[in-house]
Amino acid sequence: MASLKIWLIRLRPIIAALLGLSLGIGITALAGESPAHVVAVLVKSALGSPYDLGMTLFYTTPLVFTGLSVAMAFQCGLFNIGAEGQLAMGALWAAVLGIVMPGLPGFVAPVFAVLACILGGAAWGAIPGWLRAKRGSHEVINTIMMNFVSAGVCSYVTLYVFRNTEGQNPETLPIAAAYQLSQFSSFGGAPVSWALILAVLVWAGCIVFLRKTRLGFQLMSVGENESAAEASGISSPKMRILAMAIAGGLAGLVGVGEVLGNAHKFKMGFSADFGFIGIAVALLARGRPEGVLPSAFLFGALHKGTADLDFETTHVTRELALILQALVILSVSADGLWDWMNRIGVKKRTGKAAS
């Protein structure tokens, strides 16, 4: 009995998410569309063929990184709205490396490029982290402002330094062949590369780091209670800067899938707001890295699935994705609300209930 209850509690976010989804799809009936048809279109478009599944996984990859980015910052009590700018910097660094050092041998080139992604993002994330830790200016303001600075830097470098004059698109020159990750052939040509495997590994790494290492514990302590952490000898400014650098580095890894695995160049505006959808991914995962992987997959599937709505249905457009995202997040947070009401209403709390 007790174990069933624990399972129920653990499954509650999933049940809540399903509830939100059903509610959102139910809304389509109001628009005069058969909800069943909408579900069929969504599922078919997201998972219907190897190519469709590949595109879903392709969109899932950046969302795992940005979701982790936001979640890791959450764990240290920080709200990172700057993943959009950080991912662009990571991608830009990788592209620049791939352009200026074409001679790197094939086996180290991708490794260096991945490091460039991490460093580019981490440097960009560490700045607001430092400002928060040392100057007390709030990271929400700083990270969002850094997004604009990032866009400016990226467009300068793209348009005036490494401009690809061949095409119309504002994009850089292509990176050298040694840097390019091969794409898996089993997805019918969808650009699924090693970035997906990397995303899963990084996801596992984040969990291990946070839950099993001393540094991870210190980071979480600052997030849970700053003064208690300080009292036990943890430097909260250091942890804050570290957390933001980690968050930035994670976001920067989006560049791996895009620059190394797909476009082979930096395209301005390549991100479909992945940095911001990452916030939703992390919220659905309730701010914990553990839930980011399934949550990112759901959002990736929604992003791909709703694209086909425009021509498969007459009344419902791809904007349904936004409604679904909103309702899923709402119902998952309402689940937390239920928790909270339980706690204040019934003064009976188990260790698990608070989680």
Binding site: P35, A40, D310
Partner: protein, 354 residues
């Protein structure tokens, strides 16, 4: 709990079965006679009052007049073009039209993968045995705008405001400047660009700021090629009692008396004509002639000659485009179409310069 879960799964399953039936039923209806055209719009979407809107209206006209079947989608991001084009190609769409140069790469890939389908792309040159590229001679139209600006300017200072410094907009700028200099070699052209991000096409306040700056420096006519940002230029011109020139669609109506004329880029005509050609070539069974690809594929240019680009004249700008101005412009137009005047083209000039 278990019961509830089964209930949900059961519902999902019944949904799926139902959906299968409904989709089968609708597919049966769609397989009827008539050409099926799919269109993938750029991220701006069909309400951008610019080239997406124009392509959309061209396809709608084809739907009304030619009784074709037509569906459109708007892309969510640059990586969405390929799956969307593929989706159309996998279904029984005969002609798939991509709007905007951003989907050139995706179009090249997908058209190769589906050699039995017809593709068309607006604003880009994609090579392929089954692809038609619809390109516009923006520099020719811009040349005429430059001539109008130089004729109407009293100060000899003329302005250009572009959305972003991309080759396409540079092409507008270069043609415009050539037109100005052709009429008044002493006139100067000041250029500004709204920004460096995609937001540049939708930032009227910034465009207004730039326009006010130019007007304050003595500029009295501004040509804008800045998408939805252009309305900011019109506002500034109205405020300063100066002139502006519209772009892409006929924008004369937006501020009569302020807008001298508009350089129209008839994406709608190019889309409509393409659809019409395919529709006309089909026989009673809906089959195309075996060698149709040969006549269909390739680059189709739309310039002053075939009214693919033109200047707008209507009741809103009759006063500004007086008879003698109109005569001079039509004269220049004739000289361009006859080849007497060669308008410099950024696309070809670029190769020589850089």
């Amino acid at each position: 709990m278990h019961l509830k879960k089964f209930g949900f799964l059961g519902r999902v399953a019944s949904f799926l079965v139902l959906a299968l039936w409904t989709s089968l039923a609708s597919a049966g209806g769609l397989n009827g006679v008539g050409l099926k055209v799919g269109m993938v719009l750029d991220k701006g979407g069909k309400d951008d009052k610019s080239f997406n809107a124009s392509a959309y209206s061209g396809a709608n006209r084809a739907k009304d007049e030619l009784k074709i079947q037509y569906k459109y989608v708007e892309a969510t991001d640059d990586n969405a073009f390929e799956p969307l084009l593929r989706s159309f190609a996998q279904k029984d769409f005969d002609l798939i039209i991509g709007v905007g140069f951003a989907q050139a790469e995706a179009m090249a890939k997908v058209s190769k993968a589906f050699p039995n389908k017809l593709f068309a792309i607006v604003d880009s040159d994609v090579k392929g045995a089954n692809v038609r590229s619809l390109m516009f001679e923006e520099h020719e139209g811009s040349f005429l705008m430059g001539a109008v600006a130089a004729l109407k300017s009293k100060s000899g200072k003329i302005g250009f405001i572009g959305g972003m410094a991309i080759p396409l907009i540079k092409r507008f700028e270069m043609g415009f400047e050539a037109g100005v200099k052709h009429v008044n070699p002493k006139a100067t052209v000041t250029s500004n660009f709204v920004g460096v991000t995609a937001d540049s096409w939708n930032n009227p306040p910034k465009a207004k700021e730039l326009a006010l700056g130019q007007f304050n420096n003595g500029v009295d006519v501004i040509f804008q090629a800045a998408g939805a940002s252009g309305s900011g230029v019109f506002d500034a011109a109205e405020e300063k009692k100066k002139f502006a020139i519209g772009v892409d669609s006929n924008q004369n109506w937006m501020k009569p008396g302020v807008i001298l004329t508009s350089m129209m880029k008839r994406v709608d005509i190019s889309v409509y004509e393409t659809i019409k050609e395919v529709a006309a070539a089909r026989n009673a069974e809906g089959k195309l002639p075996a060698d149709f690809n040969k006549t269909f594929a390739g680059l189709k240019r739309f310039g002053l000659k075939n009214s693919g680009v033109d200047y707008a004249l209507d009741s809103h700008n009759q006063k500004e485009m007086s008879a003698d101005v109109k005569k001079k412009i039509d004269d220049l137009k004739g000289q361009i179409t006859s080849g007497k005047i060669k308008v410099p083209d950024f696309y070809t000039a670029k190769a020589g310069k850089k």
